[in-house]
Symmetry: C2
Subunit: 408 residues, 2 copies
């Protein structure tokens, strides 16, 4: 097959988005694709014809090994939502002209919700103009909020990082013989998938978090304080894992109750919803009078590739490969998704699903995976997340730090 | 030798303080010590006779392996500075009564400056009352601010963590094709050892930080902004590593220029000097108008045992062992210290030094290890820190997270 292929990365970084890129690249080469291009800075860069020939970058096996261990987006990223053709057809004309120019037969886009929207729009436009270019989405987001996939690549590594450092934070927080409450703030604006993963910190060597607060359950200050007070009767160091997206019954984010005006990201919403843990810690301190501490897990949740989940790395690679395979088989307007066949032992396969059923929908944590009092997750959540954080991809350490690979 | 021994841990946690405990315990058993007791919550717990028999806890080799991989203080800690005997002799009477009761011949105390002060006071009092109990300090602090030791156990692992996650944060921060400045806030109230370690993020795969700000150099806003502006002419994503202890020429911490009243720790000073990165990011945003981001590396710097330096783990064990060996040889009022013989190849030995030369002094970064313009560290700093972050002690992962060991 003399077709060329182009691949891009979009949206926020993850620890394994480059493993999907490795899966796309190697599968394309194995299946006889001629040239594999990478778009720089996603579709935004492509519109300016910013592209690289990946054969020059990833031609040797060591580069691929390092790529799988490199966090963030190797090709750069963007937060660009395409206009509809009705709003601005010139964008589409530019892109399809480039596809012609570079003899591109398939476009693979690794990203979250906005990226799937891009795939949906491009494939619809392509069908309208009878283009033969195929458009396939490769899922990626630590938020795990995409529909019709058991989970998203990136989530497992973020979950493993959260569970691991929470154990370390708990050990750190329990060191003095005094009453204290530690509130750890975990990413997740609208869904509690990441905060829920804190449950994996529990084991024979660690109690794990005493409470987990998710955006799916409205925050009730009275119940919350009563629960903290109860917990303090039986243990001196109480640990709370709270999603940054926890909000009150009227929909106000807790962080907005304290935080001052911050900078906006390219989408116009606040770059980081900081302040939830600070708000909760102050609430406890003011009402219960004990020592409190607020810790934000911050962006490391999405880029800590030194602690990635091997299951996650492999699955990210697999969906990349499945997407290429589908494109070469003639499919378009699809996303490669993950379908869990069993949890014990864990068994998961890829399947292709209609992009329109995914784009612009959000999956939240099922309410019956949250305890009735809204302060923890149930066994079902634990069983769900457990396989996703298993095993490691050992970093290749050079001079004391993990070696990555970078463009240019 | 039928003598018993007691060991305690004090001050803030580190990733390797338990490796020193392992070194103390195993060396004591190898040298024929009868019972090894652990004091719970340091000298404060000992005053309440809170003790454990470590043979019951650490009797098998697997426990020792896990102990070396467990962050924070296994025995609990305190932030207690002993009164002088003139202020309150009853404290000393209580302690020496306990030493008699449990037939304790040596007390080992693993900690930082305040712990060395405790050893100094106990050994002076012991000499005065002609006690035969020996008192030896085992150094520990991520801050690396103890005198007369090349470096302190705990520093190397914190440095490795900082360099590693800074690489990941840089990858994350460079993902969009827009001008931005990221300010990473690193621990170190009065000395820049930890912030300086950020230099180890640089390599063929990463530029490392473009600026490093240390407490040793007064902060000059004008020079600072000019340097950031210059940097932005040649690269779009500028990275700044800043110590939490950066202060202006008149000694005001930058964080105090923005932060509101926080809670106090047991010593009466602010638990965490947050706000330095926020202040710098806002300064840049207001004056240069580009997108900025502030990230605090927080307490994980001291407790990320999943990323500890093997050199550090081994040296922490060695100073624990050297301290016990010295105590059994009759020494008292000493600290086990590290003496570097060479950097390439790295070679370091232990030696015993007078505790009075250590306690209550603080070691800062030599000014000639900082560049003349005060915005980076020199080759000397790099050569100093390089060996300390080398090699890894692989965590023992169980069910997706590193397994630790805990008391009881």
């Amino acid at each position: 097959m003399a077709m060329n292929l182009i691949v891009g990365q979009s949206g926020g970084p993850t620890a394994v988005i480059n493993s999907s890129l490795a899966g796309v690249y190697e599968t394309a080469k194995n299946l006889g694709v001629n040239k594999v291009y990478g778009m720089l800075y996603g579709i935004e860069g492509l519109l300016q014809e910013k592209m690289v020939d990946l054969d020059e970058m990833l031609g040797d096996i060591m580069s691929i090994e390092l790529l799988k261990r490199t966090p963030s987006s190797y090709l750069g990223s963007c937060r660009c939502k395409l206009p509809t053709p009705e709003q601005d057809e010139s964008v589409y004309e530019t892109l399809f002209r480039l596809f012609d120019k570079y003899e591109i037969g398939a476009l693979l886009y690794i990203g979250g919700n906005d990226s799937m929207d891009t795939i949906a729009k491009l494939s619809a436009y392509g069908a309208r103009i009878r283009s033969e270019v195929r458009f396939i989405g490769v899922p990626k987001t630590i938020d795990n909020d995409l529909m019709l996939t058991d989970h998203t690549p990136g989530y497992g590594s973020a979950a493993k990082y959260i569970a691991t450092i929470l154990k370390e934070v708990i050990a750190d927080a329990s060191v003095y013989d005094i009453r204290s409450v530690t509130v750890a703030e975990i990413m997740g604006r609208h869904a509690g998938w990441l905060a829920g993963a804190a449950c994996m910190a529990a084991g024979p060597d660690c109690d794990g978090p005493d409470m987990i607060l998710l955006p799916e359950v409205p925050f009730d200050p009275e119940n919350f304080l009563k629960r903290v007070d109860d917990l303090q009767k039986s243990k001196s160091n109480v640990i709370i894992a709270a999603s940054e997206g926890v909000k009150t019954a009227d929909g106000t984010f807790l962080c907005d109750l304290v935080s001052t005006a911050g900078q906006l990201d390219a989408f116009g919403h606040k770059a980081i919803l900081s302040g939830t843990s600070r708000y909760l810690a102050d609430l406890i301190h003011d009402n219960l009078g004990c020592k409190t501490r607020a810790i934000e897990f911050s962006t490391l949740q999405r880029c800590a590739s030194h602690l990635s989940s091997r299951v996650d790395v492999s699955e990210a690679y697999q969906v990349g490969g499945a997407a290429v395979t589908a494109a070469l088989a003639g499919e378009s307007g699809k996303m490669a998704s993950l379908k869990r066949l069993a949890s014990r032992p864990y068994h998961c396969i890829t399947e292709m699903i209609d992009i329109n059923a995914v784009a612009n929908f959000e999956k939240t944590v099922p309410l019956n995976w949250i305890t009735p009092d809204g302060t923890h997750v149930t066994k079902e959540f634990y069983e769900y997340v457990r396989p996703l954080i298993q095993s490691e991809l050992t970093p290749i350490y050079v001079n004391g730090t993990p070696r990555h690979v970078r463009l240019g």
